[in-house]
């Protein structure tokens, strides 16, 4: 079976080389690196907005998705989180490993990631996470599931996801946002742009098929 597998790979690769007119000479030619470097990239890589406008754009885009957006500074963050949860009537919150304890609201039942039992549905309702970077132009938060972000299913199974975004994490354009995690590209990465949605029935956009139906954001100065 292993031999067969090697054969198939070689057959496909040799077909590709033949299709490209590669001879033995060009197979040992220099890598595609130079040609890749020469590819045209006249599109916008960096944004032009000032930081206040950038934050505002991000907030607007999130609100377009019916996300509730609030602003806070570090001092008021615990209260802001508490307010956000109250507004949605949430009394239990799942918290990722490494999430700063000092911001967790009192009076709310906290379940830590290690104790998270996916099968117990009551516990699964609400999760709070940090993020790696946010994109203003598209209204996106990106998680790489590291410290304070939780493993991937933590922000997937609950019905409500509250994401804490620092102003300094907000980039305007997609390319510059992706630069932020270029060095950790092999980490598991999830781009989240609003709650889940489908338009499959008569083109009516319906929220929340799978994945959290509610997404809120607190922007921290």
């Amino acid at each position: 079976m292993a031999d067969n597998a090697r054969n198939t790979k070689e057959i496909i690769l040799s077909r590709i080389r033949a299709a490209n007119g590669d001879t033995a000479a060009t197979v040992f030619a220099p890598s595609p690196e130079r040609d890749w470097q020469a590819l045209p990239r006249a599109y916008q890589r960096k944004g032009e907005l000032g930081s206040a406008e950038r934050v505002q754009l991000f907030a607007e885009r999130m609100e377009d998705y019916n996300a509730s957006v609030s602003h806070s500074d570090e001092v008021g963050l615990r209260q802001a989180i508490s307010d956000a949860l109250n507004k949605r009537g949430k009394e239990i919150i799942v918290v990722p490993n490494g999430f700063p304890e000092e911001f967790l609201p009192l009076g709310v039942r906290v379940i830590h990631e290690d104790g998270f039992d996916a099968a117990a549905s009551a516990e699964r309702e609400n999760v709070i996470t940090l993020c790696t970077v946010a994109i203003a132009a598209t209204g996106t938060v990106v998680l790489q599931h590291g410290v304070g972000e939780g493993e991937r299913r933590l922000s997937l199974l609950p019905d409500y996801h509250l994401c804490i975004v620092r102003e300094s994490q907000i980039k305007e354009a997609v390319p510059e946002a992706m630069d932020v995690f270029a060095n950790s590209a092999t980490r598991p990465t999830t781009f989240i742009s609003g709650p889940s949605a489908t338009s499959d029935i008569e083109m009516t956009r319906i929220k929340g098929v799978h994945g959290p139906r509610f997404l809120d954001v607190i922007i921290v100065r």
Binding site: R41, Q44, T190, I201, M203
Partner: protein, 495 residues
Amino acid sequence: MTVRVADAASAAKFPILANGLVEDSQIRQNVRHATNVIQNKRARVVAEQHDWQQLRESASKIKEHTLQYLDRYLEEFESACIRAGGQVHWAIDADDANRIIVGLMQNAIEKNGWTREVIKVKTMTSDEIGLNHALKAAGIQPHETDLADMIIQLGEDKPSHIVVPALHKNRTQVREIFARKMGLPELGEKPQDLTDAARNYLRDKFEKVKIGFSGANYLIAETGGVCVVESEGNGRMCLTLPEMLITVAGIEKVIPRQQDLEVFLQLLPRSATGERMNPYNTLWTGVHEGDGPREFHIVLLDNGRSSILADKESRQTLHCIRCGACLNACPVYSRTGGHAYGSIYAGPIGAILTPQLQSMKHSQSLPFASSLCGACYEVCPVRINIPDVLLHLRGKVVERQQNSLSRGVSIEAVAMKAAAFIYAHPRLYTLGQKFARVAQKVLVRKGWIHWLPGMLGGWTAVRDVKQLPDEPFREWWAKREAAKRDEPMEKSYGG
């Protein structure tokens, strides 16, 4: 090696399928509505993106470059993926892919005592190879988890669009399918009710089924990463909850570097659903300790792609990122829907991809299913010159037909050769004009013709045609020139 594109090889010709669909008022209504909605949304978000043309240019060049070095990039991807704990398989055609995939699942099910089920995220590639048939033959139950694919699967139907496969169904029809198959006789009819039903029905499956199956939008050679772009969240479910994940991807899905993703993630959502960004993108690399599947396999699929690569004129077909924008822009597609193409790949891209994957042996009517208006090329985010490719493929179809050893020669070929001969000889040509003017007399009523014989009958089935004028342009010109020559006496005396 036998390439398979679902059951395109046995599909009826486009004109025959289309003629039935053009008269189906519900299809006409639904397809028109869906394509209009997405087109309008797309137009709005594209207008917002001031560097749209530059993004298209880059995307096109990245794809062109990748194809040129496809063997290198595939090998680079394989090494990087394996380094990250993934396992890479190569499949020459549909049967090969199915054998590998079913084998992996069988082994895992037997070894671990898992249920004989798999949860699937939407991928057209799975339909292309006919995976579900192979799974069922092996006693493994596939569960489609995309809402539209669920509608199709439960309704025992076929998809009709790349991005919104069930657009040909009304909510009442969907309700009927769900009520019956999910055992929900009281089910409401609002789209929200139907979506809630799907959510509950699948939750159980997501949490219990141990094997997940997906396609891939992008494979990143530099890192070994795989990217899946989706809206509903079922992708995230299938990619992270199961113990084992198997992904199938056409070899043309690879892009060189992580940085290239920034181009495609801007082009795809705007083109496909008219959004600035779709709800969820998942990017994973091999196996992640403590997060997600413990075993990851990827099957790299050829199934005819390497033969498309060999055609310099039409290899640009492999740039396609499956956004569906060309379908929405196409005046032919929006009046027939996807079933007219007899293939999982429909619309303009389907018309060029389907026959080419099959080395032009089947689906030969598809390159002709176009008025060459060019609307598709205008919206294609990777700048595939679809009209050019259609013309090129028409030539290949004609060449094949002329080379085939069948007894008869087609009437069309005879007519074309005759026309070419006439056009090459001006005297014959003018004679032909005169002949036509005489021959038409029997068909003309009050200056118009309402019926033409044979192939030309296609015209008069729905249109009239004006009679040929008594005097073609060249005769008018000749007379005018002759009249001028008769005047010179007056002119030369300073008249």
